[in-house]
Subunit: 429 residues, 2 copies
């Protein structure tokens, strides 16, 4: 963990280094992924079966390609009651928040009697990637599939690797709750290629979302344009802006809730009180010792953690905006949180006040936990129903309307050297 | 031009071929673009100057890197009055349509007294690419820059090659009208790299939009994630659904207004009347002969044009949806256009009725003319203010709210093996 002090000489350079520091691996997976995509396009399910045998160690043709709906329902019903209730509460709250996101169509006539508008509609089919192994989170199934369902997508297809043929009960339960229509037991770049182009068994989808390793991310990036994708995701991060009135134990836990995700996660505290900074640093060290995820959290905190001491918290906000973090906690009194929030220009999701730890947003609050990372909140938003919808604009003119605005269109077409454009208008005047 | 008949044997295969036919060149520009991006990152303006000398044949350091605001204003004032009026009308109408797109913030409390919402904000800076030479369209400057301006972007940066050092007066006039803040005389993949990473002279932007050649498109694709981009664009297309009550001359002009853009453009007519189909085909041939753009239109129409004869126009709509075209004209009586529009699932922009030629949408109607091509209307939308904005979700809990939903979050964190997540919630209960 590094400590920075905004009033010391050299701070600007040190903070620049923090902003520009790369946490993403430069793994050269590009050419491997290109070849995988080519193979899946050429040989379809044969390639999927071969790669699944090689990487997940089981035979798709023997074990079955799909996990069926009955298995998912059974998994849901077999959950411990408190976990089932928690998952159900999460699903309901996520559904409610995303329903409120549904965009409105527009249809109006302007002063020239030109009818204009836009209609929103869902994509036909969405693919959701769910990683296997340790990162197979049921919450992630809900956060990706429920917005698609709310958007009105008629076919939601999940792909997930099942290493050794082992299925993940919590993931299957979440798929049941979220209304996933198909689950295919394939993973990696080959699963993304199958969703994008289709194979003999798997019909192509229109949009692919969901987290994955470097190969999955690269496949999505390469296939962007063939299908829609949610975003390019990197290691996640939390920024906490906190005054000395917080319990340092709470803030330490918040920083660690990010650090425990991955060794490349980043947790940064901004505070105006050196004593509080010390107390949090001490609490982090103490809590790490007893965490089951302590080794990961330790590495993340040591390599990428930071505590930035500022003169006042308002002065921290330009720094916060430069980092454009995925998660931003404003752990101050409610009225001050509001004032600080008004200074936020770039952040994926903001957690206001002392009683709103980031983990609430990971699970049950309702807003999506798929958020822009690596300073991408400068231009990107969290996953929403809009990622599964598209807008069709429309125009309708009558004789009076084309006589009103048509001549200008023809003049512009002439100026651009496009005579057929001009003719298509002038013939109607 | 090929003719298909939906009631003849073999139609399904022939239509599949039409849907899957590739019009995009497979030019392998990827590695060249990767190297260009690397060069611009390493040597910044030196690379820009060298490449401009090589490709555009002039010395940026001698001729000046920028086109200043006074030059743009002068270009606007020097326009022929009818062109200036047409451009101004277009700008006003585009601005009005895009203003109506501005999204609303949300801020509410749910039944558990959890405060939830989302705030929209503009990106800090947007880059607009404007091609040089024949495809330097002033309408394109308006369509890209005005939505950014309406979104609230404070810095709009245009990059455009000026081959031989020659500036394009109409483009400069449009930049003045649209409120572009900076214009740099650089083009190609190197201009995109400069916008994404910044150089000594050019500060980086957050989103890059605008059309370009294969190198520009590939640079945008490779830099997606470093910056936001509008979309992956391919050759454009028009689908016209028309009954026999149309003037074949009008419909022929509409088909040609797409064909004259580029040899890879595509124009497809769906009609239920064989005689009308013949009349349109004849009118196309006749009109091409007298078009200044006839050679391009001829190649497009010969290679990619099609007339599809269907039993009834309603039956054409599933075919139309499979093609998911950039532009769709429904050239029928108004009430029938409405009914056909209700059957549209995928289209970039729809032009309703006999008096709405597509060219109206290219210039003056108001909706954006930057639209998804190559079947991407299945998942993508036209350019809008949303491309220059991002959404920050927020959550605020009080003591009662965290007691209501916190336990479920902790239960889920336990199940996912993330103890610091659980602790950050439980400490507050």
């Amino acid at each position: 963990m590094q400590r920075l002090n905004a009033s010391e000489a050299g701070f600007a350079d040190a903070f620049d280094a923090l902003v520009n520091g790369r946490r993403e691996a430069d793994a050269d997976v590009s050419s491997v992924v290109t070849q995988t995509i080519r193979d899946v396009r050429a040989r379809g399910d044969v390639t999927l079966a071969e790669m699944t045998q090689r990487f997940d160690g089981f035979d798709l043709n023997a074990a079955g390609w799909q996990i069926d709906a009955a298995q998912c329902k059974a998994a849901y019903e077999a959950l411990a009651p408190d976990l089932r209730d928690a998952l159900t509460l999460a699903a309901k709250r996520i559904e409610a928040y995303h329903k409120a996101q549904l965009p409105e169509n527009r249809d109006y006539r302007d002063a020239d009697n030109v009818r204009l508008g836009a209609r929103w509609s869902a994509v036909d089919a969405a693919g959701v990637y769910v990683p296997g192994g340790r990162a197979a989170y049921p919450s992630s199934v809900l956060m990706n599939a429920i917005p698609a369902k709310v958007a009105g997508v008629e076919r939601i297809v999940m792909v997930t690797p099942t290493p050794g043929g082992e299925t993940n009960q919590a993931v299957m339960a979440a798929a049941y709750l979220a209304g996933v229509d198909e689950i295919w037991r394939v993973g990696g770049a080959q699963a993304i290629a199958a969703l994008a182009y289709g194979t003999e068994r798997i019909r192509a989808v229109d949009v692919i979302t969901g987290p994955g390793n470097a190969w999955v991310a690269e496949a999505k990036r390469q296939l962007y344009g063939v299908v829609g994708i949610d975003m390019v995701a990197g290691p996640s991060e939390i920024l906490v802006v906190a005054d000395a009135k917080n319990d340092p134990e709470w803030i330490a836990a918040d920083l660690l809730s990010q650090a425990e995700h991955d060794p490349t996660s980043q947790s940064i505290l901004f505070t105006d009180d050196a004593g509080f900074a010390d107390a949090v640093a001490k609490a982090v060290d103490a809590q790490i010792a007893s965490l089951a995820t302590g080794a990961v959290a330790r590495q993340s905190w040591d390599d990428f953690g930071a505590i930035v001491l500022v003169d006042d918290l308002e002065g921290a906000m330009p720094l916060v905006n430069r980092l454009a973090g995925e998660h931003l906690e404003l752990a101050v009194d409610d009225d001050r949180a509001e004032r600080l929030f008004d200074l936020v220009r770039h952040a994926g999701s903001v957690f206001l006040g002392r009683m709103t730890p980031e983990a609430i947003g990971d699970y049950v609050a309702g807003p999506n936990h798929v958020l822009p990372t690596g300073r991408r909140a400068r231009f990107a938003s969290g996953l929403s129903v809009l990622d599964f919808m598209k807008r069709t604009s429309f125009i309708a003119l009558d004789k009076a309307a084309i006589n009103a605005i048509g001549p200008a269109a023809a003049t512009l077409a002439d100026a651009e050297g496009l005579p057929a454009h001009a003719a298509s208008v002038r013939k109607r005047l």
